[in-house]
Each structure stands twice: as C-alpha cells, then as structure tokens.
Symmetry: C2
Subunit: 333 residues, 2 copies
C-alpha cells in the first residue's frame, strides 16, 4: 500500500494534525518536531494524496481549459503558455475541446458540475459561451481568451487588434499602395471588427477611402482566402494590396494571386495576421501582424490563477501588444 499521513504520524510519534501542520506550514509547530516529521516524510517518500487533500480542502489545484479545437495553428503556442504558467504555480491543467460537438459540451458540463477543477480558461468560444455563462454565474472563476469578452463582462485577455489593423494600413500606405482589399474572418469575432476598424481608420487618415465592396468576409481558412481573391479579381477591382485577417487566409490569397499571374509584392502586397510558423514558408514569406501567442496563454492563466486565489475579477481586459513583422510579401518601403 502507498504511504499515508497516518504512517508518517505513527513513525514520527505525533498526530496526523501535526503532520498536516508541517506539511502546510500552518499554525505553530515546535521546530524540533517539525524537523523530525520532515525527516520521516523524506525517508518514507510521502506525498499527500491530491484526491484526499482536494476533498478535505474543497479545491483541486487544477484548472480546466476549454478550446474549440487544438488544430488551429496558433493554438499550440497559447496552450504552451498556459501550461507553463499553470505548472509554475503548482497546478495541473485539464484539457477539453468541443471537437466532437454537442456531446463534448455535455461531458464538459458534467466535469464542471463534478467540480473537477477550480477555474476555467476558455479560448475563442463560439456557441459554447452560452454554456459557460451559467458556470460563471454558479461561481466558477472563468477567464476568456477572446476579444468580445469585454461585452460579456468576463475577465479576459486580448491583443491590440485595432492597432494591428492600423499598422498594416500604414505599412501598405508607406509602400505607396492605394487600392487595398480586406479579407476578414467571421464577423462575430471581436477581433475581426477591430482589425477592420483600425485598418480603415488609418486609410481614412491618409485620405484613402475604403469602399465596402473592397472587404470580403472569409472564415479564417486558406480556401476562403483564395476565394476572396478570386472574387475581387472577377469583380474587376483594381487591387494593389491585400490585408487578410489571419495568416491562413493570407496564404490562400498568395496562392490565388499567383494562379492569376499577379506578382507579390510587385503587383500586390500581402499582409496577414498572427505570425504562425507557416508565415515564414509561404511564397513569398508573409509580412504579418504578430500576436504574442505564448504570452496570451501565460497572461490568461495567471489572471485565472489570481482570480482563484481570491483577487477580485478585473473586467478590464488585459491587452497585449501586436507588432508588424516585415517579410517579402510586403517588404520595407
């Protein structure tokens, strides 16, 4: 059998209470006794059972993380950041995805009700947010990685999407481009409207008007980037630049431009968003607005940990900076 607190107590000739006290550095313990107990603990290789501690203390030292899917190229970095922060705090990370649809959410909800973790990190929820709202109301600490979060009054972390759009526009303007088109993501994402707003505002500031027909709604896939470019060209628009709301659709745009015989960046400059590993491998390599993905995961986890630790939830989102990474698809002026 594994060694329990009772074994330690017996071997040390003290009560379980005392062992517990030295374990948790709680209450006064005679220094001598404490040392002796610590010795026994080390000798026996005793480690408290997390199940028992959890039950007695009413907490699990575990956080949950709910993500739509792990296969989006930016997820790994966010997840790694979260895992690092959570582990550093001595917590565990329980990972869930909504990858199998409705059934996933049902099982996830069970885990929540079963109090399997002390707090929850939710990444870019879509419909799942409807399930998360009541969990929060029921007292579960929740932090969102999402740009719509402020409207939902959840603590959250996001990035300067607005500024990112502005950076893209300024760069294209500096390159002398006056006929840019935009490929957005699904419009219900907060990041989408922000990126667009920043972009259009910067154009405006330079006297370049942005005709709404020069914006097409994509869905963040490569295919949607291709289709958008095909549509722009079929519509007969003159196009000397593309601002895509993520790198995947920018890669699709590059592909479609090449297929149409347009040279990048000579004829058309292209800027993406995210800076995923792929961005260095497209032809030509992609200029993009970098999001600090790792830092986003870390910040979200730390925010949640603080919340669990008793800090009152902040409703102001933690906003991390985006920055322009210049590569060949839209080179330096």
């Amino acid at each position: 059998m594994r060694v329990t607190i009772a074994d330690v107590a017996r071997a040390a000739g003290v009560s379980k209470s005392t062992v517990s006290r030295v374990l948790n550095a709680k209450g006064e313990v005679d220094p001598g006794t404490a040392d002796r107990v610590r010795g026994i603990i080390a000798r026996l290789g005793y480690v408290p059972s997390s199940r028992a501690v959890g039950l007695a203390r009413g907490s699990t030292r575990t956080v949950g993380m709910l993500a739509p899917s792990l296969t989006w190229p930016w997820m790994s970095e966010v997840l790694q950041g979260a895992v690092d922060a959570v582990e550093t705090a001595g917590y565990g990370l329980l990972l869930f995805t909504c990858h199998r649809g409705r059934e996933s959410m049902v099982q996830f909800a069970e885990q929540v009700s079963a109090r399997a973790f002390d707090g929850l990190l939710v990444v870019e929820p879509e419909d799942e947010i409807d399930a998360v709202v009541p969990m929060r109301r029921a007292g579960l600490p929740v932090v969102l990685v999402d740009d719509r979060a402020r409207h939902l009054s959840f603590p959250s972390v996001s990035t300067t999407n607005d500024l990112g759009g502005e950076l893209a526009a300024r760069h294209l303007l500096a390159l002398g481009r006056r006929a840019p088109v935009v490929i957005t993501g699904p419009p219900h994402f907060g990041c989408v409207s922000e990126r667009l707003a920043g972009f259009v505002r910067a154009l405006d500031g330079h006297g370049v008007e942005h005709d709404p027909r020069r914006t097409v709604e994509g869905d963040f896939t490569e295919r949607s980037g291709e289709e958008a470019v095909e549509k722009f060209l079929a519509d007969g628009l003159d196009v000397d630049a593309v601002f895509a709301h993520n790198d995947l659709s920018a890669a699709g745009a590059l592909r479609a431009l090449r297929a149409a015989g347009r040279r990048v960046p000579e004829d058309v400059a292209v800027i993406g968003f995210d800076d995923i590993p792929l961005a260095t491998h497209t032809t030509p390599p992609l200029t993009t607005v970098r999001q600090p993905l790792r830092a986003i995961g870390e910040a979200a986890a730390n925010l949640l940990l603080a919340h669990i630790g008793g800090d009152p939830p902040t409703h102001d989102p933690v906003v991390l900076p985006t920055e322009l990474v210049v590569r060949a698809s839209a080179p330096h002026p």
Copy 2:
C-alpha cells in the same frame, strides 16, 4: 451549498447507499425506487463530486499526458486524437510538458505520487524516460508514443517507419534518381534508424549502394536541414535526391537547394516525413511520408484506457501505417 448525495437521499426518502446504487447501476434496486431516485437527481441537478468519488473509489477517471513540448508541428494532431479518445471514454486529460526542464519533471513526479491520474501517456520521451520507468514499476499504467518502446518493454504505439523509408526510396528510384542523400534526426530516436534502414534496404534491392557519407545527422529542425544540404554540396557530392527524416528539415533542405541554385524537383527531388500542414506550403509543395498523427493519439489513449480498465498490457507495439503523399518536390514518375 452544492447538492450532495445526502440531499438526494433525504429528498427521495432512501439511504445514501441506495442512491449510490442507482448512480452506479450496481446491485439490485427496486425499479420503482430507482425511477424515483433518478427523478430527484434530475430535479436537483445532482452530479457526484469527482473528488469524493475518486477518494472513495481509489481512482480519478483522469489520465495524464506528458509531452516534451507542444510546439512541434505534429503534436497538435496527436494531442487532439488523445483528447478525443479520452473524452469519449468519459475521462479527463491532465496535460504536462517538460518544457521548463528539470523543474517540470520534479513537479510532474509530485503529481504522479499524489495519484492525480490513473494512467499516463508519454510522447517521445528523451531523458524523461528515466523518470517514467520507476513510475511504471510502481504500478502506474503507462503507454508510450515512441518507436524505441519495444526495447523498453512498454506498451506503445508507433508507425511503420521502416516501410516509410522504403516507400521514399522506391519513389526516388522510380523517378530515376540514383544519387540520394539522407538527412536524419537524432540517432537515439528509434524512428531514425528504422527510416534509414528501410531506405537503404530498398536502394540495395535495386543495386544502388548507399555510401555512409551520403547520410548526415540532423536534429529535426529546419536549420539542420539547410546545414546538411550545404555540407553535401560543399563536400562536392553529386546529389539528385534528398530524403529528410521530417518535414521541417526537408523545408530547410528546399531552402538551401534554392539558395544554391538547384531546381527542385528537376535537379534534386526532395521527400520529407510526417505530412504536417507546412508540407503543402513549401516551395515547391513537399512530397512526404505521411504519419497518421491523429490516429496515433487515439490509439495510444485507447490502449492506455484498456490497460487502466484491467486489460493486461501488450508488449507488442501497436503499429500504424505510413503512406507516401506525392506533391511537386518529388512528383509522380
């Protein structure tokens, strides 16, 4: 306060034992009583506390997964496969990485001792395997995603690496290439020696001898692929094909070949290994030996779950098939 089994028992006018029986479908319960209890459970929205169940039952319905890092491009798929399988079985997945070095492993070991999960999935361990061996000996069910596992007598899942090497060689031979070079990964990986062996054997079978100088050791990074090609060229070897042991180093090889003015595939055909998303985006797109990453994660999780469920551990590795995916870097003959 949250509703407990005692609340349900009281409301139903039965004992906690009976509620527990209907909950777990264990032992005989009068159908009428069972129905009544189920009604109460639904009405009260009762869900058993996973902590309490775990303590009483001695298990957690949680599995651990230990990965070196999440940022290798193939990890996401393996992880997604594992999460899907684990969730489907009603288990949770506790994720750990060795990303922060020694400290990570110490904390991880604590979690193991604390019995935070019922079984462990380990992906491509390097030194960490030394820490895992005693855990297994202490009774923890462990499954490895690793090609060396058979030597360690761990249950494991791997792929037909040997055949993959053979497929690559046959394809290059069919393209008329007789002067291939190989960029391997670190030699302590089982997959590396297998891929090389299969490749060399197929060449041999066609009367093409493989000079050892035509193999260079890489480390699976893009940079190492570049350096390997630079070395081959500097050595004055004639090269009409490259077989890289993963897609990242193949991408590096493509880059170095272009820099050296060699045309791909006309002058040099290139084949990678893995089929990560990047493979479709290199210039030209990469022919590669596909590994069924998602299926690997699923198979490993299911093997572990069966093991936890009491099935005796199988020491024969579960071997999944690799297949050649032909793209422009080494087109159809």
